[in-house]
């Protein structure tokens, strides 16, 4: 039974939509990594994609330096982002899909700002709503 269960889980994961937007294959999209208390070090509003770099402490108290990307500015503006959404020094919560390499880099699912408002990625912020088709 245990084996069937694992197989079923594997099948479910295979059945999840393929994210065809460019650049997503590098990331493990089955698991959201949650990083709370992240301090923004850089916010890049640029093509091809928006980038946020931030520092966050691991469980041992060591500071980790992360980089995360979202969609292109013209795509994320539709989800409420702007060039002034985030600034260095802001403390935010980051939800991301980490690189399969294990490096401290990921594709955002969403960020939560200090006031509690959420900003979702244009591609992987709407996993259940995926269906825009191949780009």
């Amino acid at each position: 039974m245990k084996l069937w269960f694992i197989e079923s889980l594997a099948l479910l994961m295979i059945c999840t939509p393929v994210f065809a937007h460019h650049g997503s294959t590098a990331y493990d999209t089955n698991k959201v990594v949650v990083l709370k208390g992240a301090t923004v070090t850089k916010y890049v509003w640029a093509n091809p994609h928006v980038i946020i770099t931030f520092d966050v402490k691991d469980e041992k108290g060591n500071v980790q330096h992360w980089s995360a990307e979202a969609g292109t500015p013209q795509a994320v503006v539709l989800s409420g982002w702007s060039k002034t959404s985030v600034q260095p020094g802001d403390v935010i919560s980051v939800y991301l899909f980490q690189s399969k390499t294990g490096n401290l880099v990921g594709r955002l699912n969403k960020i939560v700002l200090a006031d509690g408002s959420e900003l979702r990625d244009s591609a992987l912020g709407y996993k259940e709503a995926e269906g825009e088709g191949k780009k």
């Binding site: 650049g23 990331y27 890049v44 091809p48 980038i51 690189s99 259940e128």
Partner: protein
């Protein structure tokens, strides 16, 4: 085996029911302007006669069509191209923000185009990279012997002439294109002998259709339609700024492309 399938089915049903019950309704991804207008399906009335002037919005990428068999030279050149600028090993000229050139400007990042009139010519503009192409409408012919010693030089966007075919279709022919560009994001190559035909048909006031045909006998065994695209009239006529900036592309590569290492994830290493 049958028991296993039943187990699996039961599990899947339970799993999906669980998802439906436990989760809140998922947030919906907002539609792009093109998707909204396409879904609304407004025609705006009949197309005006011989008039495309104004700003139009399209999808990120048009629908690509597979080319016919390539010539031996075409195959050789195609193998040299490694598409996908989001891969560290790609040699897509887009990765370093080289000019798209034509016809790549009509096959990649097609969120916005616009048409304007100048004496003797139509100007076709692409939002991405703020590209400007002149299409001569004064009856002149395309230059000959482009790229040959003594002839005119090839350029990123070539030489274009146009004419109206009936009341609603603008036909543009282009030649003299530098062969260092790709024709689309899949990495298909071309020679300096490439001739491209664009047919813009205004179906109604709000809808424009583009058919893009490639003719390059050195590279492809016959002419073919590489892409069809569709644009909707932008109600407020405003456009966006989309630039590929080399310093930003370098930063993106350093912070994201190299550490994320898509090639390793794909098993290409």
């Amino acid at each position: 085996m049958r028991d296993f399938l039943i187990d699996l089915t039961v599990l899947l049903v339970f799993a999906s029911a669980g998802v439906a019950q436990d989760k809140q309704a998922p947030a919906q991804r907002p539609l792009t302007l093109y998707q909204k207008l396409e879904a609304a399906g407004n025609t705006g009335g009949p197309a005006p006669r011989r008039d495309l002037l104004g700003a139009w919005t399209g999808p990120l990428t048009p629908k690509y069509v597979d080319p016919p068999p390539l010539t031996p030279l075409g195959e050789k050149l195609f193998k040299l191209n490694s598409p996908d600028p989001f891969s560290a090993s790609s040699n897509d000229p887009w990765g370093t923000c080289d000019p798209f050139g034509f016809p790549r400007s009509a096959t990649t990042e097609t969120r916005g185009i616009a048409f304007a009139q100048m004496p003797g010519r139509m100007v076709i503009m692409a939002q991405y990279g703020r590209i400007w192409r002149s299409v001569w409408m004064d009856g002149r012919e395309l230059p000959k012997n482009v790229g040959v010693k003594g002839g005119p030089d090839t350029t990123w966007y070539g030489y274009s002439v146009g004419h109206w075919d009936g009341d609603n279709t603008l036909v543009v022919s282009t030649t003299g294109l530098d062969d260092k560009t790709w024709i689309d994001r899949r990495g298909y190559p071309h020679s300096v002998d490439l001739r491209v035909e664009e047919r813009y048909t205004r179906l109604d006031h709000d809808t424009l259709e583009l058919t893009l045909t490639i003719d390059d006998p050195k590279i492809y065994t016959k002419p073919f339609v590489i892409a069809k695209n569709r644009f909707k009239w932008i109600p407020n006529q405003e456009d966006e700024e989309q630039m590929c900036v080399p310093s930003e592309a370098i930063e993106y590569r350093k912070l994201i492309v190299v550490p994320a290492d898509q090639d390793q994830a794909r098993g290409k290493k």
